[in-house]
Each structure stands twice: as C-alpha cells, then as structure tokens.
C-alpha cells in the first residue's frame, strides 16, 4: 500500500485570532510611523539644503508627514502586489494569509527602524550616504529572510518548507534584480 502523508490545513481560526489581536489593529499605524522614521534623515537634510527658500507654506513636521506618508503608501501598494504575486504559488495557501500580511509588515517595520537608524551615521560620516543603497538592499533582504523563516517555522510542514521559502522570497529577488538593472541602466544611459 502506498505510504501517503495527509496534511489538513484549516487557517480560519488562526486568521480570526490574528485579526482580533491588538497588534494587528495597530500595525498600519506603526507601518506609516516607521516610514516617517525612515525618511526623517532625508527630509531633515533636504529641508536644510533648501533653507533659504523652504516650501514656505508648510512646517518641517508637515513635510515629513507628506514625504513619509507618500513612501508608506507606495510601499503599501508594493506589498499588495507582492501578496497578489505569491498567491500564484499553491504553497502559500498552506499559511494563514493574515499571518503573511502581518508578518511582512512587521518585517518592513523592522527594516525601516534599522535603516532609519543607520542614516543617522551620515551626520558624522556624510560620505556613507552614497552607499546606503547597499545597506537598504542587505537589510531588506535579511528582513524578508527572517520573515520567511518565521512563517515556515510557525505554520509550514518541513516537507513544504523549501517551496514556501521560494514562493515568499522570489518576488523580492526579482524586484531587486529589476531595481539594480534600472540603476545600472540609468548610469550607463
């Protein structure tokens, strides 16, 4: 007789539990705040560069909220695309979709906090600024790997782990390759 492994997946309760939790409710606010933190250095220094004129009609705080908020919105759309793409893989259906959504946002928050703090090094070592693009790539990738491993450990059978890992990481890898390609093309053109 054939030896089959049957896995029954019912994510409904887990989805309901996460949705009802406090952390799920405050997550969007933290997500936006983390982008304000990430853009703080850029906004601060750009504001300073334009100190003779400024925007005139706004304050620093308003500019920061607009700038950070805009980036949060863009990334929110990117995350939406990401979740839509990973749905194409059947292995991602083994995991509660709310858990994926929340954990990816936590990963982005952690990445923003770390990267935002790194930007402050540029106050004493301004020449680092040009290489922050590399830090961005590395930290984003590390955040995604940690996110994928947490999801795998928590929700996925070890048999499916590599397939789920591939499904979760490949969109990011493709995205980063495109970004590097665009940057290189921008330089050569």
């Amino acid at each position: 007789m054939q030896n089959s492994k049957i896995i029954n997946v019912d994510n409904r309760k887990e989805n309901a539990r996460i949705t009802a939790s406090f952390s799920h409710k405050i997550l969007p606010f933290l997500f936006v705040l983390s982008f304000l933190w990430l853009k703080f250095f850029d906004e601060l220094t750009m504001f300073n560069m334009d100190a003779t004129a400024g925007w005139g009609w706004s304050s620093f705080a308003v500019e920061l909220f607009l700038y950070g908020g805009f980036f949060a919105l863009v990334n929110f759309c990117l995350l939406f695309c990401y979740r839509m793409i990973i749905t194409a893989s059947p292995h991602t259906h083994l995991v509660p979709d709310v858990a994926i959504k929340d954990n990816i946002m936590w990963a982005m928050i952690a990445r923003n906090l770390m990267l935002g703090a790194l930007y402050f090094l540029c106050f004493s070592m301004p020449f680092l600024y040009g290489y922050m693009i590399v830090a961005d790539l590395v930290i984003t990738f590390v955040a995604f790997i940690v996110f994928a491993i947490i999801i795998i450990k928590k929700y996925c059978d070890v048999v499916f782990a590599p397939y789920l890992f591939k499904a979760l990481l490949l969109p990011l890898i493709i995205y980063e390759f495109i970004m590097v390609g665009i940057d290189c093309m921008g330089y050569f053109i």
């Binding site: 492994k5 896995i7 019912d10 600024y129 048999v159 782990a161």
Partner: protein
C-alpha cells in the same frame, strides 16, 4: 585631618590636570586685529559699493551677465588698484585683473560674465598663495503687480546685502588692510570677485580651472558667502578629517562666534560640480569642494533646532536673503542687526587666521582626499557594490533554500513518504475536527501517516 588633606590634594590634582592637559595646546588668536579696526572700513566699503548716498545706483541690479554686474566688477577692480600694494592679476587666465567667464545660462542662452582678481604679493621667493573669493552678482526678486487690472510679474532688485554685497565689502576691506599692513606675511594673498554665481557658480568654476593649472602654488581658497545674517558664523572644509581642517578649526572655532559645520551633512548626490554637494558649500565654495586645493567655506546662519542645522538665517525667523528686505535699511532698522559689527567679526577672524605664525605651513598641508572623495562619491563604485551585494544576496537565498530542501528530502526519505495529500479548508467549509485548535495550541497543521 588626613581626610581634608586628601580632599585638597584631589582638587589640586584636578586643577593641575585641567591646566596641564585639558587646555588647548595651541594659543588661538594672537589677536593682532581687533574687530573695530576693520569695522569702519567695511561700512564705507559697503556703502561705496552700493552707491548708498548716490541718486543713480548702477550696481543695484547686478544680475549674472548684466551691465550692472560688469559695472560692479569694474568698480571693485579700479577701487582696489588705487590702493598701493594691490596689483591686478595677470596670467593666462586673468588679463589686467579680469577673467572672462562664458557660460550657458539657466534659460539656455550662451552668456558672458567676468571675474576680477587682485593680488598682494609677498617678497618671499616662490611664495604660496591664499585666495579669497566671493560672488558679486545678485538675483532679482519677482514681485506680482497689477498693471491696468492685469496681473504681471516684475523683477525688482534690492541691495542684496547678505546675498553678495556684504561679502564683497568684507573682502575689499580685508584686501586694503593687508595691502597697507607693513608686515610681509610670507605668502601672496589673492582676492577674486566672481561673476555669475547664480548661474551654477560659473565664475567660481572658471577660477577653479585657473587655480588647478598649478595647484601646488595655492595653499588655501577661502570662500566667503552670506555672512551678514545669522547669529553664528560657520566654517566648513571637508567631510573627511585632515590636518589643515583640524588646524583651522582649532584657530577659528570658539572665537568671533565661529562654529564648525562638519556635523551637519546635507548631501545631494547627483547635483553640484563634482556630482555631490554639501550645505556647507552652498555658495561659491561648491566649485572647490573635494578638490586638490584646500578649501575653507565661511558663512553665517542660525541653529534653529533640528529643522535648521546652521544654514538657516537670523533671529528674524524668516529668511531675508533673496527678498526685498535684504538691504541695509531693513536689516539694521527692522531687524536691528549691525551689519558692520557682524562683518567686522568675520573679517577679524579671517585676518587673525592669516596672522598665525605657522598659518601658511599648516593651512597648505595637502589634504590628500581626492581618492577618498573619488571612491565615496563615485556612482560607478556604488553601483558595483550594489550589484555585488545583489549577487551575494542571491547566493544566501540559494544556501538557505538548499538547506531547507535537504531537510525536506530527508524527512520524506525517513518517513518513506510516496505521496502527499493536502486538504485546505475554504472559508465556507464546515469546521474540521482534526484542524480545530485553541489559541494556545500549535498552528494549523495536522500530519497523518497512513
């Protein structure tokens, strides 16, 4: 008694350490020039330059490439050459003190401007040169007016005291001061008054090309820009530490309201002459930033909390530069700022820097930063690092993936599994007994081996 003795001894030791090791090793400022000496001459220089008491003001509108700018240049040159000891620069670039500057203006037209330069020569053979420079042009303020009920925009020019006139007056007073001084400092002092500053520092770039034909001759370029307004005076030299920058900081910072601007970086990669810029070199100094010749940028500003890092202006809580309020009457009357006192302080600080006995040796020490700037601001290197990191990231991805795959295959082999059946509950499905779980239980996975 022993307790008291030890307390007193501790205090004595503390004072000894403080005086012996805590104080600066260099006695900053011999104070050979006091501010009031230069103050009076600066005031008259400013008023003469601005034709303050004259009815017809030909130098008020001195836009880049305009006749007003040419007139201002001619006035500066003729006025300075009337002072004994000041000579017009004459080399391949400057002809009788005038350097022609050609540039493409912001509206796309080819335009012409000029720099004027004078030198106070030292009798020392092969003497090094210190160059002072500032922009002389100004920018019009655009005012909206109604002409016959039709809204129109007109260009209005003001004295532009902070924008350029103040710095011009300061350098003219300094030039005369050094020319009339009986002391030969052992180095040449050049004064360059630059045109077309508002046109991406075209004048400063032209001067930079001249200086770099024989960079070894030049010890330091001092760029003075917008020094009238602001509670503090700032100096900025390099992003990276180097000997000459430490020397000048040690001499200037803490005196005459001077502060260092090195903690507040405001980089804008992709703009500026060398594809990078810094708020500390917002004026003509931008042309010399990151170059072989040592550069000192001098400007004034206010520290207004985190949103103003020193580049903002004045206690007036608004920026007066590039507005109609940038004139003597408004600055001194409305905002109660003494222009001559402020400029006198900056001039005295610069003069005293040059009077330091070891100035030319220390300030002329090569900065050797071209490679550092070349590396850190090179877009090609940045992209290369980015690309290499991308490849590394992919390798890391593959290593983790490979590890998980091996584990998965081992699990399949150990369990002798030949097929996998996955039942995923849909939102409308009835609850499955085996999939039921409380919040504290394991996440939703159930394994069954048949």
């Amino acid at each position: 008694m022993r307790k008291w003795f030890s307390v007193i001894l501790t205090f004595i030791m503390a004072f000894a350490c403080w005086f012996g090791f805590g104080s600066s090793s260099r006695k900053a400022f011999a104070s050979t020039v006091e501010a009031p000496i230069l103050t009076a001459s600066i005031e008259s220089e400013l008023k003469n330059f601005l034709q303050y008491d004259e009815a017809e003001k030909t130098r008020l509108a001195r836009e880049a490439g305009s006749t007003g700018e040419a007139d201002a240049s001619a006035y500066i040159l003729s006025s300075l050459l009337a002072t004994p000891g000041i000579e017009a620069i004459n080399d391949g670039y400057f002809v009788s003190g005038v350097q022609a500057v050609e540039y493409v203006s912001s509206n796309g037209f080819s335009s012409k401007s000029q720099n004027v330069g004078v030198v106070i020569k030292s009798a020392t053979e092969n003497a090094k040169t210190v160059t002072f420079c500032t922009n002389i042009d100004n920018v019009a303020v655009i005012e909206a007016v109604s002409v016959g009920g039709e809204p129109q925009e007109i260009k209005v020019f003001t004295e532009s005291v902070n924008q350029s006139a103040g710095s011009v007056a300061l350098l003219m007073a300094l030039a005369r001061h050094f020319a009339t001084s009986v002391i030969d400092l052992g180095f040449n002092i050049e004064f360059a008054f630059l045109g077309a500053g508002a046109e991406e520092n075209s004048g400063a770039l032209a001067l930079n090309r001249r200086l770099n034909t024989d960079a070894s001759k030049y010890a330091l370029v001092v760029c003075v820009d917008k020094v009238v307004l602001g509670d503090s005076n700032y100096i900025f030299m390099q992003d990276f530490g180097c000997e000459y920058a430490s020397y000048i900081s040690e001499i200037m910072v803490g005196h005459y309201n001077f502060k260092n601007f090195n903690k507040t970086s405001c980089l804008a990669i992709g703009s500026g002459v060398n594809l990078f810029s810094h708020a500390g070199v917002a004026g003509s100094a931008g042309a010399f930033y990151g170059g072989k010749i040592n550069m000192l940028s001098v400007f004034s500003g206010n520290y207004n909390g985190v949103s103003g890092l020193g580049n903002s202006e004045s206690t007036a809580h608004k920026n007066l530069t590039y507005t109609l309020y940038d004139n003597i009457a408004s600055i001194e009357g409305t905002y109660d700022i003494s222009i001559k006192t402020k400029l006198g302080m900056v001039a005295s600080a610069l003069a005293n820097l040059l009077y330091q006995p070891d100035f030319i040796v220390e300030a002329g020490k090569p900065n050797n930063l071209q490679n550092a700037y070349g590396f850190w601001y090179n877009e090609k290197y940045q992209l290369f690092a980015y690309g290499v990191c991308m490849v590394l990231v992919f390798v890391v991805y593959f290593i983790v993936y490979d590890g998980l795959m091996k584990k998965s295959q081992k699990n399949i082999a150990d369990g002798g599994i030949e097929s996998l059946i996955v039942n995923i509950a849909e939102p409308g499905d009835p609850p499955q007994e085996e999939a039921k779980m409380s919040e504290k239980e394991e996440p939703p996975k159930e394994d069954k081996n048949e």
